[in-house]
Symmetry: C2
Subunit: 418 residues, 2 copies
C-alpha cells in the first residue's frame, strides 16, 4: 500500500471513529483515560525498551545531548505522563455543555451546544510524552486524533499508541480514535495536510520551520503560532523591585520557551535607576543584553542591538533592551515587532494599566505579572494542547474547550418561515 | 501602480485602520452607521445613476433578467439598506465584553475580553446591497473590511463606498476602515488571498465555484460553506399535518437559498399516508420530485432519482425523496450526503428528537421547524454576514459576535512563575 493510500485510510477511519466519539458519555472517556494511565505504569519496561531503540539511533545519527535528553523516557517521565492523563480525566467534559438558550418571538427555542471538532491532525517534534498528552486531550474533548511525531521518536510513539489503544479496547471505544502515523516518510505529512474532507483541524507544534511548512502546505485550517516575541514594558510608574523580579523571571526561569521575554522596553524616566540593577542580575544569570544606543550609555556591558534583534525569538539567555520616551513608543514597538503572543506592563498607574490591556493586540496581555503565565494550565484552562496567535477560533492557549465548537439546536412546534 | 501593489497598499492601510478601530467606543460607531443611513437616502439619485451604468453594461453583455433584477437598486432597496444600517446601530457592541473572569490560586485575576478580528476580506458576487450590509457589520464589530464585489456591480459598489466614507469622515473614523477594490481584474483577488500578514480572515459569499476558488487559493483562514444540502427527516411518529406544512415551507418558500430543503427522508411507516398528500401540494407549486424506487411506487408522478441527486444542492423547485426503513438509515444518509449545514426532524417522539439533536453533525439542527430558520436574524443573532460549515471559529450563521475573538487579560500584583 502506498503512503498516500495508508494516510487516507487512516483519515477515513478517524472520521468514522469521530462519529462514534461524539456520542460517548464522560464516564466512558474518563475510564479510558484512567486505564491508559494504569497501563503506562504497568508497561513501563516495554516503553523504556522501545525508547532505547530510538536513543540508540539518535546517538548514531549524532543528535545533540539536549535533544537526546528530550527524547529520553524513564520511570519518572512515565509516571508524569500517567498523572497527566488522570488530571485530564478529572477535568469537566466540555462536550454537551449548552452555552446559551433563548426564545424567539415565534416560540422557537434556540440554543448552542458544545460539540467536538471532529478529527484533529497533530504534527509535532517534541518529546514523546506529548503523544500521550495530545491523545488524552483529544479523547476527552470527543475528537479522533492522528499523531505525527518526530522521526527520532517513532519507536517510542508506536509503543505508546499500542498501550493507549489497549484502554480504548477495554472501554469499547473505537481503536481509530487514536492513531500514530507509523512511518517517518515526509510524504505522510504532505498527504495528511490535503485531506480536508476527513480532517477538521491541524495543530502543529515545534520549531518555526515545521510550523511554516505545515501552514504553507495545508488545505485544512491550522491553529498555530510561529514564534513568541514577548515584551515587558517597564513603565515610568513601575514598582522597581517588582519590575526586577518579574522581568528576571520572564527571561531566566525557562528561556527556551515561547512565553519567555525576548525584549524589554524601559521608560526613560526609570531607565537610570532600573537598568543597572536589572543588568547586574541578568548578567549573573548569564544573560547577554543587546541594547539600543541609549541603553548602551547606561549599561556598559551591553552589546549594540541590531535591527534583526527586535523581531527575534532568541529562545536563549539573550535579551533585547530598548529605552522609550513614552508609552506610545512602547505600544508602537510592540505593534511593529511583536508576535501577538504575550505582552506585559509593569506599572502602578491605573490609567496606563487600562490602556495597555485595551490596546495591545496579543493573545495574553498582563499587568504586573510574568509573561511566563501564558500557559493553559497557569491561566486555569486545566491543560493545553498549544497556543494559537491567529485570531481565528481560539486566540491564545488552547485547552479542552478550544478543542470543541458549538452547533445550534432548535426546538420548534411546527414553525415555518413567512 | 500594479494591481498587486495597489491591493497590498489597501491591505496595509486596512491594518493601520484596524489598530485605530479597536479603540473606538460604541457611540462613535453607531453615529457613523446612522449617518451612513441618512446619506444613502440623501444621495439616492446618485446611487441610482451609477447603478444604471452597471445595468446598461449588464444588458449589453446579456445577463439574465434574474441577475439584472438582483443588480438593480431602486428607492425601495436603498431605504432597506439604510434600515439595515440603523438596525446594526441598535445591536449591542460585542467588543469589550468580558466573557468570563476568574481568580487563580496565586491571586492572578484572569479574564477573557472580546476584541475585533482585525481586517476582514469579503469576496462576494451578490447584490450591491451586500456591500452596505457587510461594511456595517464589520464597522460595528470594530473590524476594517476590504470588499471585492462582482464585476457587474462595480459602479454601484464604488458610489456606495464613497457615501459610506463620508460618514467615516464626519465621525473622524479612518477612511481605510471600509475599502472597495476599484478594479474588476481577477488578479486583485489572487493578491488579496496571499496577504496573510495584513488580513485576518476571508469570507466569500456566492456560488460554489467562487467559494472553491477562494478556499483553494487563500493562505488566510476562510469562513465559508460550499453548499447547503439540507434534509428533513419525517419520522414514523411525525404529526403529518405539521410535516406537510414544514416540508412545504422548507422547499417552496424560497428555493434558491442555501437553507432550503433539498432532500426529504420519510419513514416507511408514514410514507403511504404522507407522501401522496405531500406530492400533491408540491406539484401544485411546480416542484419536481426525484424519488428512490420505493417512492416511485407511491408517487407515480415522481421521476427516478439518480445517485447524483442525493448530494445535490438544486437551489430550485426540485426535491429528492427517499423512504427509509428506520431512523438509523436516515442518520446514515445525512452523514453520507449532507453538507453539515441544516437538518430537521419532524416527530412527536421525545427520544427520537433528543437523538436527532445529539447525533446530527450540522451547524443548525431543528426539531419540528423549517430548515429556513438557519439565518442569523431568524435565530436571534441580530444580523448575519454569512454561514460557516467548517467547524472552526463559528459553526453556523455568523453575526456580530462571530466577527470577534477573545484575548486573555491578566491582572497581577507582581506574580512570577516558579
Amino acid at each position: 500500500m502506498s503512503i498516500e493510500t495508508m494516510i487516507k485510510e487512516m483519515a477515513m477511519a478517524a472520521k468514522a471513529a469521530s462519529r462514534h466519539l461524539r456520542k460517548v458519555e464522560r464516564g466512558t472517556k474518563d475510564s479510558a483515560l484512567r486505564i491508559m494511565a494504569d497501563r503506562l505504569i504497568l508497561r513501563g519496561e516495554d516503553i523504556i525498551g522501545e525508547n532505547k531503540k530510538d536513543l540508540a539511533l539518535a546517538e548514531k545519527s549524532g543528535l545533540t545531548s539536549a535533544l537526546i535528553d528530550r527524547l529520553t523516557l524513564d520511570e519518572k517521565t512515565i509516571i508524569s505522563m500517567a498523572e497527566g492523563l488522570r488530571e485530564i480525566a478529572g477535568l469537566p467534559d466540555p462536550v454537551g455543555e449548552v452555552t446559551g438558550m433563548w426564545k424567539r418571538p415565534n416560540g422557537l427555542m434556540v440554543g448552542r451546544v458544545r460539540i467536538p471538532l471532529g478529527v484533529i491532525g497533530f504534527i509535532y517534534e517534541s518529546r514523546p510524552n506529548v503523544t500521550v498528552d495530545a491523545a488524552g486531550l483529544c479523547l476527552k474533548s470527543g475528537n479522533a486524533v492522528i499523531l505525527k511525531g518526530g522521526a527520532e521518536a517513532i519507536n517510542s510513539n508506536l509503543i505508546l499508541e499500542e498501550i493507549l489503544k489497549e484502554a480504548l479496547r477495554e472501554t469499547s471505544l473505537p481503536q481509530e480514535a487514536i492513531q500514530v502515523i507509523p512511518t517517518t516518510d515526509r510524504k505522510a505529512v504532505n498527504t495528511l495536510l490535503e485531506l480536508e474532507d476527513y480532517i477538521d483541524i491541524i495543530i502543529p507544534r515545534g520549531g518555526e520551520g515545521l510550523i511554516r511548512f505545515v501552514a504553507e502546505h495545508s488545505r485544512i485550517p491550522v491553529l498555530k503560532h510561529y514564534k513568541g516575541v514577548c515584551h515587558i514594558y517597564v513603565d515610568e510608574f513601575a514598582d522597581i523591585s517588582m519590575a526586577l523580579d518579574v522581568c528576571f523571571n520572564a527571561k531566566v526561569q525557562r528561556p527556551g520557551v515561547c512565553n519567555a521575554m525576548e525584549t524589554m522596553l524601559v521608560h526613560e524616566k526609570v531607565a537610570k535607576e532600573f537598568l543597572p540593577l536589572m543588568a547586574e542580575r541578568l548578567q549573573k544569570a548569564g544573560v547577554e543584553i543587546r541594547g539600543c544606543s541609549r541603553t548602551l550609555s547606561i549599561v556598559p556591558q551591553a552589546v549594540p542591538a541590531k535591527e534583526a534583534d527586535w523581531p527575534a525569538e532568541f529562545l536563549d539567555l539573550i535579551l533585547a533592551v530598548m529605552i522609550v520616551s513614552n508609552m506610545d513608543e512602547a505600544l508602537d514597538h510592540i505593534e511593529k515587532y511583536g508576535s501577538n503572543h504575550t505582552e506585559a506592563i509593569i506599572t502602578r498607574d491605573y490609567e496606563r494599566s487600562r490602556r495597555f490591556l485595551a490596546e495591545v493586540d496579543s493573545s495574553v496581555v498582563l499587568v504586573n505579572a510574568s509573561t511566563r503565565f501564558n500557559d493553559g494550565y497557569q491561566l486555569g484552562l486545566g491543560a493545553e494542547i498549544g497556543i494559537n496567535t491567529s485570531k481565528l477560533h481560539a486566540f491564545g492557549p488552547m485547552g479542552l474547550e478550544e478543542l470543541t465548537t458549538t452547533k445550534f439546536i432548535v426546538y420548534g412546534d411546527g414553525q415555518i418561515r413567512s
